[in-house]
Symmetry: D2
């Protein structure tokens, strides 16, 4: 019924963004703004939970964009109080079946010592095991979301306060998670031991903020204080400020390297550096590793732009916007006509024909997933009369699915899982196709020595097939890990 | 009730886009695609009229984006036939009162020899005079739109066929207009004698297309044939193809120069050249005319980007995306909270703090209208720690309102109508502010000698105050023309 | 797509109700209440036009019930002023094609001396002739409604004020009409020369009211003053009160007798008597004319109830509610399932099985139109175990369509046009079927002598085939009048 | 924000209706029809759950009427399978805070042996106690509905199949309940030991039906087999048909007597007799107990009609419809204007002025709750010129709230809790006010000897204050039982 735009289908997609505020009037309004700034991390639905003394908890969860659902006085008036958390989630429409509103976070649980709400970015790799066990013991699940396990584990804990119950629960959970949670008086943030997904702390006047990315601090004028550390839990109250805990065994971190490549917004700061600047540097490395003679360097809009700027600067070949994106494009259609379905990527992109005609074009894109869009873009460029088309990709071949909170196709749908670089070049029908090396990517994100195979600093499973947390549920379903070499 | 985003308020805006197709199955589907590609010319509402033999005329007009309203099978199924025209119109919400659906084009009239529908891009400068006269003689107006005059004038004509009636009507009309119209068997396109607004002809298989811009030919795979000439009427039928008429006194054309600067899409072709290339050239001229030492050249997204690319290339100063645009921003809100209202431009733009800190920044924007957004952007850049801010504007000072189909503030709201360049620089609080000269702009669009004051090749009234068509209605309402020098 | 309830399909239906108020604050609020009380006269759509000094005219027209559309502060706030008129119209969904919002009254026209709005109950029998002529002369029609002719005729009039232009227009119009209209300062009411459709005058404090029926005066607490006379025009202003005009040749009135039988609400007053009382009296006459032995007199809900009460009282047979109506039934469904479509009348009616089992039942209904519902009710009653079923009908056989503002099937769909009473009895499969005589009906409405064939006091064309106004458009389309005897 | 119609506020209201079907294709379609017939038992929201082999459970729950939500092919197509249950619930809007969709039944729970859904009519009087205990033990509640306890108690049961788990759960539950539930293969019906709320069994071809009332069997053409007995559980499967269980201690039944007076539909059968006939008999008893001289007996529409028919027959005073109900009235408004709010009961009822003028009127109503509507009706009747107004009430004074699934005001809002009959008569300002006696009511429902105070056959707590099940939660909240005499 829904027709998902093939262009968007051909990207890996972050599944969630989280945001929380304590210690400011009308906290929900700030959460709405923060989630708006994190909308790129999830467009399907959003939710906000607040607590106000004397009123209690309030909650609103809706399908669609934050700006359409959570900006009016009507909505915010029903979300009063100085403490609020929120969540945006990614659209699975068309690929995973229908989400229902009860699957939309934050989730709320009433415990004997009071209520708590949690919002979760990441993926629990043993959720199916946990769910079976909890049902056996009499828990009633209301959603199909893995994150609901955390609430039920908390309900079963014998601890007397909610942060301790949360520690109990999260110690049972495996996978990647950045959690923002709240009780009646506390805002809580946790990152999994490896710190796969991001989470940052900010200061807003007398209050405090937790956010997936720093760009959401900027929109509300909050000051960026620091990243929450891998394995850290912060418990923040108006009375006592920020208390730091480390409930898990401490291990070296493995932050998701794809946040640098594509997921995070270019104006966010990761590891002390602008994401834009890192991406530009990826372009510089890419130009060094894969030089080619050409007339123009064109980004595949919009995500390829910073790397294209870097590539152009390093190579000396002029940068140009050879492809224009239609700003009025949405992601899905309801039962479109045959004509419209056939348009595919043309609905979103158009080649600047007068510009590319007769030219040798370097196209810089962030990644190749299924390859379907890359093929169509190549056709459009050749139709417009380009003399040559060279693809330069700002990440290594994506050959493995992510199980840590990113929507990836099954392995057999990944072009790089089935083909060598040369085969991909043939398949796409371009004059050349080159990817940055994994070492090159590590260098661009600041590891001067490249990747240390014995102790890599990042989670790069989608490129290397080395999964830092064993994906138990997926293995139970038949997924095969990379054979040891 | 509605809160218009201040960022968008601070631009001149094209008021309409038109598109028509004849000689292909499911013409409405192509018109929907064409209008989607022209959505930048009008986002408030859209409409399509079709004709099918044996069924007659069908019409659908709706508020909102084309992609949300005109892509489903349900809608297109009710718009059958090989002949269709469509229209997108700009949102006046907040500035001009409420549009009603009856104001949305195409307009339809039933004449004794059959029906006709018309869609109009431009503005009729004597519409109020005509309206008074028509009411006096017994016409009943249904809309508040000036374009409805054309239908009533056609109804009153004594000519026996519809194209002739249209000539009668358009000879009475003054101003700027590109009209796409249809009868049961004919597609008709007309440009006013000066050709102020664009209109192009394309070929789609055995059929023909009329469109405001060439980018809308690309989306449906139509071939760009030529621009309709100023003062030309083309009457296209399946049987006889394209017939060209020149119903008006022939005078030299005065195409709108602002189409080059901002209105048209960068991937359209105007005057035989890519609009992107022209804008890049404006940036080159601007760098030559207004050089400055700095660390980075940053576009104000997205419209300033091509000129910034040109400026950077000419000046040798690195190009960088110092400001990030939120892609999930809509234009208006319904009763937003105070917090959200105060965010203003931050809802849409964020400075890349880590990138600009300590740098001397050149910001390249396409125009300064009220100056409100420019001030806010400057504040954001300085907040982020930039050392210096220099504005470079890719058009001359906008000191006069447009009466030819562009939404402009009243003259007293235009910053350049009230201040000199130095005063504007002080008012904006930037280190320097420079505009391209009118001659520089003419050079960039291809007039090597600059502007010929005796016979300018373009309509540049918004910069020069020289109105090529007398704005009769506005003068009746008290508007004062520029004093003769 | 829509599935009209077969039960409702099998009734004649009034097509409109009109209401107007002058001289009270928030006039629109009173009009909304009045239209709510007149909702039985038209359920498809409603509209209100108001005028406020210094603000001008405002209008709102919507599909659906008044109570859903016109009761909120939001809506009424946008309809300010002391002068307002309104209209409800009947749903033609499924039978006549789709109505569009532009077909919903009141209609508005801007004349050189100011605007006017009109709302019309009835039908113009020469509308097609008039429309052709007006288009020939250059009028542009916006709706498919016949009533729009009146506005165009007014626009063409050479008279200098609006009431005079309305007289000019209505003198050209043939058929049945009760019009409520307004200018900036005047409320106007007109009935056609025969007074076929009702219109009454009421007093509301210092203000005045016009309404189709008196029940709508009651709801707003207005006092019933008098009926507007056939052929009368009243022009009401705050300054001068009610002025009476008689613009047409004066002829004896022919009020619609079916208003007594079915259309008007039982709590309205017609001809000085409660409609309920008249209907009860019809039941009394019916019992006298068509006696039968039985156990229970049951009404077909709800319209048959008053006549059943009268029949029971006159015959001495106990009255009982043998059929229960589901109060939550709407009129139409969108694409219902097969199961639901097959339910037909059972969705709305259920027989009280325990009550009717083994009994001889007299069913009293107001009319038989197609006979489809009567058949189904008979089946339900027999299924429930009734011993005998006798139909008694509170009107003569409906053998002719109405062309004066009532929705009737084509003549060949009317059961009584194709069958004698005995044949109908066989067709329905009941033990007996009897109709009141035309004389009996005249006696019940107060004509002690019955119907005077030389000069009948009512329009009874649907029974007699004698049309008091020649249905010109219908004759042009091929309708054959009853042969002279 | 919502303005509840005062007329409807002044009734006791049934809170739910339940319906289930097994053994027929497209079971959901039959459930939708059944719920439509039970809509009088709950208008706020409805829900349907189905199970289809190979597909699993599907669920849809929506606010609003069944006919608007559950009749289209789109909706029913998503509810496939031969087994379905459904629920309608009463609107608490305005009186009890906002219901959310998660509070709408049927509720669903996933157990280790498979899923189950339940729908519940009645009220659990120890729900708060149970809820506290369950939360203490780690259950997470998702709704504010008491009925959710049943699902959690089932989840905690150690029994191996779902019917046994349901027995476990229901043995912990106190109060009044008629439950319809389903597993993947079984339809289950249960009535509490006293059988306070109704539940009947029907046969539909090869399948079986459970329904709150027989009228819902009629609509789908099902045959009425028998009432489920107090304390009975029926487990129905396609393979084994109906199996009867009696899981509770067996005690004499106490069916709700108010179902006879008002809640059930008149065309349903209760205790072997038509509800209409019982109500008529109440009118007969009432006329015998409280005779008076008058001109007309008028029902307060629509619920007073059968008793008024009986009263008129017994007293010999003519029956007449002196009050007309507006059929287009809904129950609530969103922010109505002041005018509309002031209309109150006039929006729904109008007196037939011409009929009642100068007459002595007996008004027959089913009950007096707050008395607010009775006062307004009296005023309307006197305004219309009635000479005398006598109220006759078809139930004893309602002096105690119901805790068994009926929405009643707090005790201090009940007129009869604060006043004697004479005081009520003064308060209402009528010429006389009489209620049927409790013995008279028992006689009318078939107990020839009247009420046996030692062992009453019905629950009549709302009249007598004698609660057959101790309302534990309410007592914990401070409710005081009637003092022992």
């Amino acid at each position: 019924m829904f027709f998902s735009n093939p262009f968007d289908d051909d990207k890996l997609r972050e599944e969630c963004g989280v945001f929380g505020v304590i210690g400011t009037a009308e906290a929900a309004s700030f959460v709405a703004l923060g989630l708006h700034a994190l909308q790129h991390r999830g467009q399907e639905a959003g939710g906000i939970v607040t607590h106000a003394p004397g009123i209690g908890f309030n909650s609103d969860r809706r399908f669609g964009y934050i700006r359409d659902n959570f900006t009016s006085q009507d909505v915010i008036r029903n979300l009063p109080g100085p403490l609020a958390i929120g969540h945006v989630r990614y659209s699975t429409a068309g690929s995973k079946g229908n989400t229902q509103i009860r699957d939309v976070q934050p989730f709320f649980g009433e415990f004997s010592m009071g209520g708590a709400a949690i919002a979760h970015n990441g993926n629990i790799t043993n959720a199916e095991e946990l769910r079976r066990e909890l049902i056996e013991r009499g828990s009633i699940f209301q959603s199909s979301s893995d994150s609901e396990c955390i609430i039920h584990l908390m309900a079963r804990s014998l601890q007397k306060d909610i942060p301790e119950r949360m520690k109990d629960a999260l110690r049972r959970v495996e996978g990647a998670f950045s959690v923002v949670a709240m009780t009646r008086t506390k805002l809580i943030g946790v990152r999994d031991p490896l710190g796969v997904r991001p989470l940052v702390l900010g200061r807003l006047g007398e209050g405090w903020v937790l956010s997936s990315e720093t760009c959401a601090l900027d929109i509300i004028g909050a000051e960026f204080i620091r990243e929450i550390e891998p394995g850290e839990m912060v418990v923040i109250s108006e009375a006592e400020g920020v208390k730091s805990h480390f409930p898990f065994t401490r291990v070296p971190g493995r932050f998701c390297i794809f946040e640098h490549v594509y997921f995070s917004r270019p104006d966010s700061i990761l590891g002390g550096r602008s994401v834009y600047e890192t991406r530009r540097q990826i372009g510089v490395e890419l130009a060094r590793e894969t030089p080619i003679e050409a007339d123009l360097v064109c980004p595949v809009p919009d995500s390829g732009t910073p790397a294209a700027v870097g590539f152009a600067a390093e190579s000396g070949i002029p940068f140009a916007l050879g492809i224009t994106r239609n700003q009025y494009m949405g992601r899905t259609f309801i039962e479109p006509t045959e004509q419209i379905r056939n348009m595919g990527v043309r609905l979103k992109l158009n080649v600047n024909r007068a510009l590319v005609r007769g030219k040798r074009i370097i196209l810089v894109d962030d990644s190749v997933v299924r390859g379907t869009t890359s093929r169509k873009i190549k056709e459009m460029i050749l139709d417009a009369g380009a003399a040559e088309v060279h693809f330069r990709i700002a990440s290594p071949p994506t050959a493995w699915p992510c199980f840590y909170g990113v929507d990836t196709p099954d392995r057999d749908k990944l072009l790089a899982a089935r083909m060598s670089e040369d085969e991909m070049c043939d398949y796409l029908g371009v004059d050349s196709l080159k990817f940055i090396s994994l070492d090159g990517l590590y260098r661009a994100v600041g590891e001067a020595e490249g990747r240390d195979p014995a102790a890599p600093r990042y989670c790069d499973a989608c490129f290397s097939g080395e999964y830092p947390v064993k994906p138990v549920d997926m293995i139970n379903r038949g997924f095969e890990l990379k054979a040891a070499e």
